[in-house]
């Protein structure tokens, strides 16, 4: 329901200030939308590359995946992620995570006792774990950025489609009303003046 507006000069002044603020805010949201769109595109590209890398390694492994069925205790221990350093940075008002460093367990494998396939398996699992860690972070990032983009879009559309046109219309209404009032006052004043002149002439 449209808010009832007061048809006076004060309201007009307030509305004009609001309109100025809306017009200042609109390009900010438009710019934010643009930046977030670019960020999402970059994130999507990175996610797509990571998914392709994961798929490629999985495909390469599929021909010899059967060896993983053999129980080798050392394998599980030597492919654990020891520590992950994550930085937070702000892009267009959104806090996104960035992996700075991934530290994996550095366990010396007994190259005499363990089977030969372990060497290749360790390298491969480490690569895959790093890819998956990056993928997880990027998917979280894209989720937050998309939420922020939707919010920025909502704000931009609200300003562009609702607030600015409505305020413009209200300003126009008040200006017409005040113009009418002013013209009426002038008309009245002229009438009074005319009546005064007639009265003076009769006297």
């Amino acid at each position: 329901m449209a808010e009832k507006i007061l048809m006076n000069k004060n309201s007009l002044a307030i509305l004009k200030i609001e309109l100025k603020e809306y017009n200042t805010a609109l390009p900010v949201f438009e710019m934010k939308e643009q930046q977030l769109k670019e960020l999402i595109q970059n994130l999507r590209e990175h996610i797509s590359n990571l998914r392709m890398a994961i798929k490629k390694i999985n495909q390469e492994t599929s021909s010899w995946i059967a060896v993983f069925a053999e129980d080798v205790e050392e394998l599980e221990k030597s492919v654990q992620i020891k520590k992950m350093h994550i930085n937070h940075k702000e892009v267009a008002g959104v806090k996104i995570k960035e992996i700075e460093k991934i530290m994996l367990e550095d366990i010396q494998i007994d190259t005499f006792q363990t089977p030969l396939w372990i060497d290749e398996a360790i390298e491969l699992i480490k690569k895959q774990k790093i890819n998956l860690a990056f993928l997880k972070i990027e998917e979280e990032n894209i989720h937050y950025v998309e939420e922020e983009l939707n919010e920025a879009r909502r704000m931009k559309n609200a300003l562009k489609e609702v607030f600015i046109p409505e305020t413009n219309q209200n300003i126009r209404k008040i200006e017409i009303y005040l113009g009418d009032v002013e013209r009426l006052a002038i008309g009245c004043a002229k009438l009074v003046k005319k009546k005064k002149l007639i009265k003076n002439a009769q006297v």
């Binding site: 492994t61 021909s63 010899w64 995946i65 059967a66 060896v67 993983f68 069925a69 053999e70 394998l75 599980e76 492919v79 654990q80 190259t111 005499f112 006792q113 089977p115 030969l116 396939w117 060497d119 290749e120 398996a121 699992i125 895959q128 774990k129 998956l132």
Partner: protein, 198 residues
């Protein structure tokens, strides 16, 4: 007198070994499903229906009935992970000694290759420079390594027919086959996915 008794006991035991050796399934270097089922069925036939024993354990238990306790203990200890150890290299059984030494040499060569790869952070050398193997993916290489050991035990078995050495050769062959058969694609995939997602 004591020696004669010992000889008689040995003869009796040897006779029993002929019995057990002839009743065990014939082993060949194959991983066909049909062959696996045959070996599985015959060996499982020795175990109680309710026992969920591995083929290796069934063989150990069956062998224990026909050999001395000392031999049985040694037989139970035989496994591919420790086959290269001094215990087997210095045993009283020539076949076991030779195979143990062969495995020690094989593992030493593999270790040199692997250490070189780790030190240089790349495979500048081919495995073929260390061991007579064709290059292939890790599964193919493992099967080639098992095959190498199989050929060695086959050649070492020549001349042994009905003694404890033959039983040892049989167990080693069974262990080699069991390792090969353990390379299962479905289970491997499950374990691989678990490893990368943990």
């Amino acid at each position: 007198m004591e020696n004669i008794v010992k000889q008689i006991i040995m003869n009796v035991l040897a006779g029993n070994l002929v019995y057990i050796l002839s009743s065990l399934p014939h082993l060949k270097f194959s991983n066909s499903l049909e062959f696996k089922n045959v070996v599985n069925a015959i060996l499982k036939g020795y175990a109680n229906e309710n026992d969920m024993l591995s083929l290796e354990k069934i063989l150990n238990e069956e062998t224990a009935k026909y050999v001395s306790q000392k031999e049985s203990e040694l037989f139970n200890k035989i496994n591919l992970k420790t086959i290269h150890s001094q215990l087997f290299q210095n045993s009283n059984y020539p076949l076991l000694n030779d195979f143990s030494r062969f495995c020690f040499e094989l593992k030493t060569k593999l270790q040199s290759f692997r250490n070189h790869k780790i030190e240089t952070h790349q495979s500048t050398k081919n495995i073929g420079e260390y061991i007579d193997l064709k290059s292939g993916n890790p599964l193919e290489t493992e099967i080639q390594l098992i095959s190498l050991q199989w050929e060695e035990i086959e050649s070492l078995s020549i001349g042994f027919y009905d003694d404890f050495n033959t039983l040892i050769a049989y167990k080693i062959k069974l262990l080699l086959l069991l390792r090969w058969w353990s390379f299962d694609e479905t289970l491997g995939n499950e374990k691989y996915l678990k490893l990368i997602k943990e």
